[in-house]
């Protein structure tokens, strides 16, 4: 059970403030999710030939001072990957000019305790245990710039409080999802996906939903088609907020037990579990504030 937040900046002049507007949103959801927090930010895409991975070194001893440069040197030496890294403590955004799958396999051999949190041309993902304020300060969320992001604060239900079980969850490239609620058939979904060669990193119910929807997108569904299939397959209570390089999308289950509020103005679309996370936004008093309806698909484009 959790708090979810999302922010999409419409007014280009505000894109420098993406992170600083978001941090109070995340902190506002501390009571709903005191265990851990995370954020996926969508940046301008890398050139077609390049990809990036968000890599977490927190499971490696001394991971807070992880030597990312050494990793880049080794990667370039072994695979001529033209790799670069942008590091913040135990998180490194590793970009390169070869297949992401090749790099993932290489990382396994290089340091099996490294976790890949996201992959794509646009997504950067940070998540860790701690209160939202601690996690935001740890990775400098307030400085993030860009068009849109998806954030989450977690109160763990049935899986442990660990960095990799925090949200957002990702699957494939440039797709992430955060969840408030709990699914009642996550294991059936896992078993349904396994024969399609889909593997799971955690025992978290949200990962099942993320991989299901990404699988549908990869099979050629439009986002709305994939979400419609989600309504048919995913049982339980959920509000999902999803991010792609060009969109934020939101759905609530038919019972809409888990809350969500949207504030939309000419400058931004802001989404949170509760209004208290939106109250600080500039001009929110004049924004269109509403609650998304159950079983409706809300998609906002950048």
């Amino acid at each position: 059970m959790c708090g979810i937040v999302g922010l999409l900046i419409k007014n280009p002049a505000l894109r420098e403030q993406l992170g600083s507007l978001m941090v109070p949103m995340l902190i506002g959801m501390t009571e709903r999710g005191p265990d851990s927090a995370g954020l996926a930010v969508f940046t301008a895409p890398l050139p077609q030939g390049r990809r990036k991975l968000s890599v977490f070194a927190g499971y490696v001893a001394g991971g807070d001072r992880y030597d990312w440069q050494e990793l880049v040197s080794a990667l370039n030496q072994d695979l001529h990957a033209k790799a670069q890294v942008e590091a913040k403590g135990n998180h490194g955004i590793l970009s390169f000019a070869i297949e992401p799958q090749t790099v993932r396999q290489w990382l396994q051999g290089y340091q099996p305790l490294l976790k890949v949190f996201s992959a794509g041309r646009s997504i950067d993902l940070y998540k860790d245990i701690g209160t939202p304020a601690e996690v935001a300060a740890r990775y400098g969320f307030a400085d993030f710039q860009g068009t849109h992001l998806v954030g989450h604060t977690r109160m763990a239900t049935e899986s442990a409080v660990t960095p990799d079980r925090a949200h957002p969850f990702t699957a494939g490239e440039d797709f992430c999802l955060v969840h408030n609620g709990s699914l009642s058939n996550p294991y059936a979904i896992r078993r349904m996906l396994a024969p399609h060669g889909i593997a799971f990193d955690t025992d978290n119910d949200t990962e099942a939903a993320t991989r299901f929807l990404e699988w549908r997108l990869r099979e050629g569904d439009e986002l709305k088609e994939a979400l419609q299939k989600g309504f048919e397959v995913l049982d339980g209570f959920y509000t999902f907020l999803m991010g792609t390089p060009t969109e934020l999308a939101l759905i609530r289950d038919p019972f809409a037990c888990k809350p969500a509020v949207v504030a939309e103005s000419d400058d931004y679309v802001a989404i949170a579990s509760e209004f208290r996370s939106l109250a600080h936004l500039p001009g929110v008093a004049h924004a269109h504030v509403f609650e998304p309806a159950p079983e409706e698909m809300y998609v906002w484009k950048v």
């Binding site: 059970m1 109160m155 049935e158 408030n180 888990k258 579990s273």
Partner: protein
């Protein structure tokens, strides 16, 4: 020479699968088209406290003398946030049972008995009666999904508030009070028409999940000016997660009800097939509290099948702070008493097996709203019997604690116990008697 041969016949044999009880249930279902509804708790044989034994003191440890050397039994509940925690003389409390399920006389008797014994009683679905408040020194007010009879004046009159998420007899389900028990007074308290079946909701109407529960608890605290302890009651199913989430949501006390816990009325299939025995639930619950650093800071009350002082001592040794009794308290009041055998026969049952509590025809005057039947229960005498019984539970637990060398019941610990069976050893996480082996753990 012809000889008439006697050929031995095989005796008629009932199927163990389709036993006579099962056959009668199939016939009943076929005739009526409704699932069986009944009161009381599970009747099947379950792993229980019986399979645990205490290691009394001997040479390596020394016992306390009875009577002379003090063995404390008091408990304080709700020390985490509430300005006015609950102080009880015994860790045996009375579980929530509703006016509606029980007669006003029975509720009054519970209050009288608990007050003499220095412990608390608890309201149930349907609200607080003046009889109950008047006779209960310490009264816990249940806050339930149905909110029948929920009144902020009563909330403020209570000594503690128990947010009920589920109960052991039917975790995930709502109640069902059949029309026979919706008397004019019950109907008025619940805002229902008289005599109709009353269905209780399974989920709270205005919150779902621990993140919202935290806000609900905040509201209850604000309304009662942060004075009263807030309990959260769950039926035992996934106790590790449920207890951890109740703590994260801000509970002062967690009440964990095993599947042996009773009910006034619910589907038999629920009673017998949903939830886990209390023996299996305590250790994960305590583990959750320990993992959060909250064991003994958030108190744990366990219930479901507590019958004697040994059960009390065993529950406390496994890590609970207190226990609650329901069915046993009703028996102490006079429920299912053999002196009423003729009347139980007329109802197609027998003393000790009567469980049609939902029908309201209880000859003991306890699980009924029939004024003539209810009058049969003298609240003063019945209260005295309950007080006596509570006293015995407490003294029995003390006897065991002293034998284990403890000067307070709360100093009992899992290492004072061994198990007779593999299953109880695994569930209670104590070694099989005579060995050091706990199933699932390395030697």
């Amino acid at each position: 020479m012809s000889e008439s041969k006697h050929i031995p016949q095989t005796a008629p044999q009932f199927s163990a699968t389709f036993d006579p009880y099962t056959l009668s249930e199939i016939r009943r279902a076929a005739a009526t088209g409704i699932y069986d509804i009944r009161g009381a708790g599970t009747k099947r044989k379950l792993p229980h406290f019986d399979d645990l034994l205490f290691l009394g003191a001997s040479v390596s440890r020394y016992p306390l003398e009875g009577y002379r050397e003090k063995c404390g039994t008091d408990v304080v509940l709700g020390t985490r946030f509430a300005k006015k925690p609950i102080h009880l003389k015994t860790p045996v409390t009375i579980a929530g049972m509703s006016f509606g399920a029980l007669s006003a006389q029975a509720k009054e008797a519970l209050g009288r008995g608990a007050s003499i014994a220095g412990t608390s009683t608890t309201t149930g679905d349907g609200g607080m009666t003046p009889e109950e408040r008047g006779q209960s020194k310490t009264l816990v007010y249940q806050y339930l999904p149905s909110r029948y009879g929920m009144n902020p004046d009563d909330l403020r009159k209570a000594d503690a508030i128990e947010v009920v998420i589920g109960q052991g007899a039917k975790p995930g389900g709502g109640g069902m009070l059949l029309g026979q028990k919706i008397s004019p007074r019950v109907a008025r308290m619940r805002c229902l028409p008289e005599g109709i079946d009353q269905r209780s909701a399974c989920r709270h109407p205005d919150w779902t999940g621990p993140d919202d529960l935290e806000i609900k608890i905040l509201e209850l605290r604000e309304i009662t000016d942060w004075e009263k302890p807030i309990y959260v009651k769950v039926g035992a199913t996934r106790p590790y997660y449920d207890v951890a989430l109740a703590v994260k949501a801000g509970a002062d006390v967690v009440v964990l009800d095993g599947m042996q816990g009773g009910t006034a009325a619910t589907q038999e299939v629920f009673i017998e097939h949903v939830g886990i025995p209390i023996l299996a639930a305590i250790r994960p619950a305590v583990q959750a509290l320990q993992d959060l650093g909250m064991h003994r800071k958030v108190q744990l009350i366990v219930s479901g099948g507590i019958r004697n002082g040994a059960d009390v001592a065993k529950a406390l040794a496994l890590g609970a702070d207190a226990v609650a009794i329901g069915t046993a308290a009703l028996v102490a009041l006079g429920d299912n008493d053999p002196h009423l055998e003729d009347e139980y026969r007329k109802l197609g049952s027998t003393a000790g097996a009567y469980d049609d509590w939902h029908e309201g025809r209880d000859p003991a005057g306890i699980t009924t709203q029939d004024p003539e039947l209810a009058k049969r229960l003298d609240p003063v005498q019945a209260g005295r019997r309950l007080a006596n019984y509570l006293s015995v539970l407490t003294m029995e637990a003390q006897v065991i604690a002293r034998a284990c060398g403890k000067s307070h019941l709360h100093n009992l610990e899992p290492e004072d116990l061994v198990a007779l069976t593999l299953e109880s050893a695994a569930m209670a996480q104590v070694p099989l008697a005579g060995t050091g082996w706990i199933p699932g753990k390395p030697l």
